[in-house]
């Protein structure tokens, strides 16, 4: 089947029930998208489906035909999306494992609501677990990014 990821076309031969997460990671070698739970609970695998944040571990690749998929590797050309910039600027990451998912959730959130309140940020980011507890820094970074959109 055909896939469109980060503006590139890929043709792959694969069981259509395979979750997109594993297609990205194992087949397209786009390993920036992370596995955390496999059941839609942690947000580590968050990608964009036509600009909307989705859990790639819980969507079969069959559902991705004719969808523009964006992963962390394709969020910006030079790693300079306002969310990425804010993340670096405020020194958000600790182990860093959850952060691709956090950034993909945050960037989708901001594209829907470019001036979120503190409460909206917290709520919008609550589907993403950070085991290192970088939460308050994440929220600050989302706020900063929203000011620099």
């Amino acid at each position: 089947m055909d896939l469109q990821v980060n503006g590139k076309k890929y043709t792959i031969d694969i069981d259509p029930q395979t979750p997109i997460l594993w297609v990205l990671r194992d087949h397209l070698k786009l390993v920036g998208t992370k596995y955390g739970c496999g059941i839609g609970q942690c947000g580590a695998c968050t990608i964009h489906f036509n600009g909307t944040a989705v859990r790639s571990c819980s969507i079969p690749v069959a559902a991705a035909a004719n969808v523009a998929i964006t992963t962390i590797e394709g969020l910006s050309e030079k790693g300079d999306h306002p969310v990425q910039k804010a993340w670096v600027d405020l020194d958000v990451p600790q182990c860093g494992y959850c952060q691709a998912g956090q950034i993909m959730t945050a960037s989708a959130l901001l594209s829907q609501n470019n001036k979120p309140t503190e409460e909206e940020i917290k709520l919008g980011m609550s589907g993403n677990i950070c085991r290192c507890s970088t939460y308050t820094k994440i929220n600050k970074a989302v706020k900063q990014a929203s000011e620099n959109l």
Binding site: L30, C37, C42, A44, E73, V88, Y97, S133, Y135, K137
Partner: protein, 711 residues
């Protein structure tokens, strides 16, 4: 460390080699220095040395610093090279950092554990930087035909008397030929220009662009994926398995038994996961004794019966209780906790006749290489071990069970293998923080603790108590006892081992004592600490003055004296990992439930190396402590872990995370641990605030089991 190193230790080493285009690699071996002689003094240069670090100075004046310890999110990949860069006197912008592989010839203690990375390497890394700096100066002196004493350095340049300068890059090759000085000068703390600043994580850019490679991201030519099915319950043995269906899945290539587990080999992670699901396994009968309810009762019986296993016994506690004005007795209980690192366990192994290659996320690379050598009966010289970026450790990756498994599998199939745990495999695999029960009994005389008896019992815990920490030395009659309950549940160190729950129990108990003594809880602690200074009972093995310092700082920063209507506060103070921490949690009550308004943290960890990293560690550990006290638990029924994934295992979420204000005592003392010590006091400060608000005490974790809901 190999024995042969010892024989070389009388000499000083400088191995040099030109790398790339005119770059120079300086590699040192040395002994760790005495910590007490560093401050602004001349210390002996790198002789009698045994471990080493790597500094590469390139011709273009860029510097590569190898970071020796595993990076698990504790920020050592940034902060350890900062220490070298400070003494080397280079601009941080010149520096790039690489993760070093395991190399016991060059490095000592390549471990991420016990919050010891900075503390143990501080003198060593400083000497490394200072010695290279001295060599560069000496090279410039030779070139200019002047005495080295006339020269100084400034951010990557050696500068002469009248301002002439040479870049480190241009001097590197000549520097390698200089004699290693007997002595090198270390900077005075007041002259630090990098240490103490906020330096962003060196891996930030890679992390935010998705290019940082974690262990789980390892992909090699010809590599296969492996998953392991382990017993559903602790103590169960594999009887048989049927792999027919699994082997029909396209991509599943092999299924076999290995070490009481079933291994599935496949061509992708997903097929390995699916393959595992398709296998039918039969296990021996579950063990009814491995049940949380049963074990909880046993632990309770143990602390009530008391063991003979006294770790400390000073004065006479029974006499003390008889004479006391008041006696208080309380029991505290903690459940098993999984670590739940965000990156599930995984490891790469490639075993061939010639060599064994290991690569992945591990906190204890040296131990694992040794263990794999023993397991596969190979020489350690044939085994290489690379350390990947690590998606969280929290102590889980001190244990190398998964490294051995990957090695065993690759050894059997003779292919490069990436072993991957699913979240379910990871959460149910054990290596848990052991369940533990504490019984405290204390007597108060004239408002002071006059007798103190703590009895702890934990599952597979060699020791449940911490001799040498407060309130020891401030109490005349003092006893600590510890017992262990044997079990099949595997033991694991969990961020701030022992302290993570003992601090909660102790510091909520002390809150009750202060209340009975009718004293302000901070005042009560200060008086007791003063006792340990003025008239201690026995040897004092902590620094009461530093504990007083953080208590005073937290009181000031939280406006402890100023009461505010509707705002409830709790305090807690704890010493662990050579670091002193006091915390105040402030809550309001919303709809009968607590909302954490703020956590104020005062820490004395000596010199702060990286201000931003330090804040991140202190903040993260506090939230971790509160989150796990609120929700964390892994109950067992007949040996079977009752949570398998984050649908039922509750982790603290963004909307519940409190604001954490961090303050550090200004200090010129050598740095101590910071990855763990702010965790232990957090739960008690929260529980004490809860009591202030609701008049209800919390005696066991998780708090959610007792109806507490964070707002």
């Amino acid at each position: 460390m190999h024995a042969k190193d010892k024989n070389q230790s009388r000499r000083a080493f400088l191995k040099t080699s030109v790398v790339g285009t005119g770059g120079l690699m300086l590699s040192f071996n040395w002994l760790s220095a005495q910590t007490d002689t560093w401050e602004g003094k001349e210390v002996r240069a790198l002789e009698n040395v045994r471990l080493s670090g790597h500094i590469i100075i390139n011709a273009d004046n860029s510097v590569v610093i190898y970071s020796q310890n595993p990076e698990i999110g504790q920020n050592v990949k940034t902060s350890m090279p900062m220490i070298i860069a400070e003494e080397l006197d280079v601009d941080w912008n010149q520096v790039s950092v690489e993760q070093a592989d395991l190399d016991t010839e060059k490095f000592k203690r390549q471990v991420a554990g016990g919050s010891q990375s900075i503390r143990k390497s501080w003198p060593v890394l400083r000497k490394a930087g200072a010695t290279v700096r001295a060599l560069l100066i000496s090279a410039a002196a030779e070139q200019w035909g002047v005495s080295a004493i006339e020269l100084r350095t400034e951010t990557g340049y050696v500068i002469g008397k009248s301002g002439e300068k040479l870049s480190y890059g241009s001097l590197a090759e000549a520097a390698a030929k200089q004699k290693i000085p007997k002595k090198v000068s270390l900077k005075k703390a007041k002259d630090f220009s990098l240490i103490g600043k906020s330096v962003m994580n060196v891996a930030s850019r890679e992390i935010v662009t998705g290019t940082a490679k974690f262990g789980i991201d390892t992909q090699r030519e010809g590599m296969v994926y492996a998953r392991l099915l382990h017993a559903p319950g602790f103590g169960q043995k594999l009887v048989s398995f049927d792999a027919k269906q699994a082997l029909q899945i396209k991509g599943v290539t092999e299924v076999f038994e290995i070490d009481n587990k079933v291994a599935i080999i496949a061509d992708s992670t997903w097929t390995a996961i699916k393959g595992g699901e398709a296998i039918k396994t039969i296990w021996s009968k579950p063990l009814t004794s491995e049940d949380s309810k049963v074990q909880r009762k046993t632990l309770l019986d143990m602390v009530n019966a008391k063991g003979q296993n006294a770790k400390v016994n000073m004065g006479n506690v029974e006499q003390g209780f008889k004479k006391a004005d008041q006696v208080l007795e309380r029991t505290y209980e903690a459940p098993f906790l999984p670590h739940n690192c965000m990156e599930p366990m995984n490891f790469f192994a490639d075993v061939t006749d010639e060599k064994v290659e290991l690569y992945g996320p591990i906190q204890t690379p040296e131990n694992q290489r040794r263990a794999v050598a023993k397991l596969l009966k190979r020489s350690e010289d044939e085994i290489s071990l690379g350390i990947s970026r690590i998606g969280g450790g929290f102590g889980r990756r001190l244990n190398g069970d998964f490294v051995l498994e990957a090695a065993l599998i690759s050894n059997k199939i003779r292919k490069p293998v990436q072993l991957i745990y699913t979240r379910e495999d990871d959460m149910t695999a054990g290596v848990y923080r052991p369940a533990v029960t504490y019984k405290f009994k204390a007597g108060l005389t004239d408002g002071k603790i006059s007798a103190y008896d703590l009895s702890g019992a934990g599952i597979n815990m060699r020791n449940t108590v911490r001799p040498g920490t407060w309130p020891q030395a401030s109490v005349p009659n003092f006893k600590l006892e510890s017992q262990s309950l044997e079990s099949h549940v595997t033991f694991g160190y969990w961020r701030a081992p022992t302290s993570n729950f003992l601090a909660f129990a102790e510091q909520t108990f002390v809150d009750e004592l202060a209340e009975i003594a009718k004293k302000d809880p901070i005042q009560f602690r200060l008086e007791s600490l003063k006792q340990a200074i003025d008239a201690p009972f026995g040897k004092v093995r902590y620094e009461p003055l530093r504990m007083i310092g953080v208590l005073k700082l937290v009181a000031e920063k939280s406006n402890w004296e100023t009461k505010k209507k509707g705002l409830y506060r709790g305090v807690s103070a704890y010493y662990s990992h050579n670091t002193y921490v006091a915390e105040v949690v402030e809550i309001t009550i919303v709809g009968g439930q607590p909302k954490i308004e703020r956590v104020v943290v005062a820490t004395d960890c000596g010199i702060v190396v990286n201000a931003s990293g330090a804040h991140n560690q202190a903040m993260g550990a506090v939230v971790d402590g509160i989150g796990h006290a609120m929700y964390g638990e892994m109950p067992l029924e007949n040996g079977v872990p009752q949570h398998r994934n984050f649908d039922t295992y509750k982790a603290l979420r963004n909307s519940e995370a409190p604001k954490v204000e961090t303050h550090f005592v200004k200090s010129q003392k050598a740095p101590s641990g910071l990855g763990e010590p702010t965790l232990p006091p957090a739960a008690a400060a929260f529980a004490n605030a809860m009591y202030a608000a609701t008049r209800k005490r919390l005696y066991s974790q998780p708090f959610s089991e007792q109806g507490v809901v964070l707002q």
